[in-house]
Amino acid sequence: MNPGIAIDIWAGFRGQLRRDFWGVALLWLGLSVATAALTFGFSMAESSYKCIVGLLPGDLDRLYCVTAFERPGTLALEAMGPAPGCLSPAPGDGEYFALSMLSDMVDRKEMDGFFFVARGKTVEVMLDGADSGRELNAELVVYHGYAPVYAGDTAQVLAKVSEKGGVAVNWALSCHGGGVGTDDMVRVSPGSTFSIMAMVGSRTGYDPRPRVMIPARAFPYETGASEVTVYISGGASVHRLTASLSEAAAKVSNSVSVQAARGEDAYGRQIKQARTSSLITAGVAAVIAAVAYANAGIFTTLWVSERLRGLALRRAVGATPGTIAIYVMSDLTIIALSSLVAGYVAVWAIWALWFRTNGVPMVTWIGLVGTSLVMLLGTVILGAVQCRLANKTEPALLLRRTV
């Protein structure tokens, strides 16, 4: 670009800014808010797809909780306690009965899998003692067998999962790789550890939804009875499952009783809510952005109209339509870029001051790049409209009208 034109563009922008400072400020603020909203919205939408909290294989709309009791005096599994250290179930009749029974049911394809849930835990996952981990609010689910853990969530990693089986974890855990199997240790914050007592389920094959892992001993222990919370896919018959569990339990011990299953859709609801909330957030962000751009469209039309005199004069002394388009696009680009930067600064501040302490994952690259693309597209579309406005009328008419 001719340096003289660049100087003239900046002088013209400053002049218009002086004439209509508050209008520009409001426009800039609106676009900055739209940037921040879009960034969070895209990031949360991506996180809902890849979020480590609550996203499980199968479309879990309704979950069933099956309670199985050991015969009195025998503990199938020790419950999680506050003291650090690894607790393993004591050998005894019925040990792992629930686990082995449930594993057998998975093997017989009577159910897809099951997992144990540690609700609301803040865990720091360290798979390699030399590296520092990352604290995040997570619920992890353990699956059957040895699950190599592949870091990242790219197509490459997922392809590896598809080829070799295993688990892909999202970026929050992606600083570590390796595999996690039964009896492996997963350190949890603030210093306690969980052993992975069992990994059950046998889902392999490519599924873009990441599996998650959970310390196996994360279930409540209250009255000496052991409870195994079994989550199965929606549509399965609770009564049929109860009957199967009773039959399997009877093979282990006559004293084992299996309580009637109860329906539990809270967890499934939580999952749906997490997904739905993120999608709603993304939707709200898109609406905010659309409103911001509609306002931007109105304002930039006024802006260009007010600049028509200056633009018409420039056309009169020799500026071509292309040069006028550069003027118009430059004005819009200055506003859009500064709004983008301000929006990203606001995103960082909000995340640093509030979201981080509440365990919300950081803004993602898709959030940042997606927002930039939306802002760029909006600027181009608005710019094309305003360029046409600036060039379509003969300079003589514009000069007469504005005079």
Binding site: I5, I7, D8, R14, G310, L313, R315, A316, G318, R400
Partner: protein, 232 residues
């Protein structure tokens, strides 16, 4: 040379059409100074805009140095305006966001001149119109007459072949207006081929030029030397 042949300019609005000019046929040879007079709404400014390629004729032919420029694209018309024409408007049309010198440099920016050449040319143009040393001021800091002189400097900085002035003294008092006309005539006289066209209500201004066109209702009613036309 400027040649208009059956040029018409109509303005369309919804279901109505208003004729702003024409049909007009005239030729202005190189070096001539022409006054265009007439009542308000006679079509004087429309004629000037058409000659200056600020407006496109609805029909007819406009030849500039023998080349038909009637149907050119806006881009090519901009280039001709940039390289061959200078405009002086009634209300100066200076840009407040630019300094006096930057206003004068504007046509040279679009000609692609370097910044040093632009600054030097603007300085010379401002010297010519008697505004030396005022290049750093803003337009609003000058009087009406000074602003019009800045507009003249901007019009001549690119050494145009055609100078088009639309009521250059319309907003000025008579003595300042006379100074402006003298300046325009001096600049016109510097180049033997330079054409000067001045739209004016002022008969006294018209008397000082080579030729007068009297317009009414978009048509040229009279065309001749001032002594004959204005006597009638």
């Amino acid at each position: 040379m400027i040649g208009l042949f059956g040029v018409i300019r109509d303005y369309h609005a919804r279901d109505t059409t208003a004729r702003g000019l024409g049909p007009v046929s005239l030729e202005i040879p190189a070096g001539q100074a022409v006054a265009v007079v007439g009542a308000s709404g006679a079509g004087k400014s429309t004629l000037l805009s058409t000659i200056g390629l600020l407006d496109s004729p609805t029909s007819g032919v406009y030849r500039l140095d023998g080349i038909d420029v009637s149907g050119l694209s806006e881009k090519r018309r901009s280039v001709i305006r940039r390289d061959r024409m200078g405009f002086v408007f009634q209300r100066y049309n200076l840009l407040d966001e630019l300094t006096v010198s930057q206003n004068v440099e504007l046509p040279l920016i679009y000609q692609g001149c370097s910044s040093s050449r632009r600054r030097e040319a603007a300085r010379l143009a401002l010297d010519k119109v008697g505004l030396s040393g005022k290049g750093r001021l803003r337009a609003w800091q000058l009087s009406g007459g000074e602003q019009q002189r800045v507009a003249i400097a901007r019009a001549v900085v690119g050494k145009p072949q055609i100078m088009l002035c639309d009521e250059p003294t319309g907003n000025l008092d008579s003595s300042t207006g006379q100074l402006i006309i003298k300046l325009l005539l001096d600049i016109h006289g510097e180049s033997p081929n330079r054409i000067l066209v001045v739209v004016t209500h002022n008969v006294g201004v018209a008397r000082q030029l080579d030729r007068v066109l009297v317009m009414r209702d978009g048509l040229v009613m009279q065309d001749g030397i001032p002594q004959e036309v204005l006597a009638q």
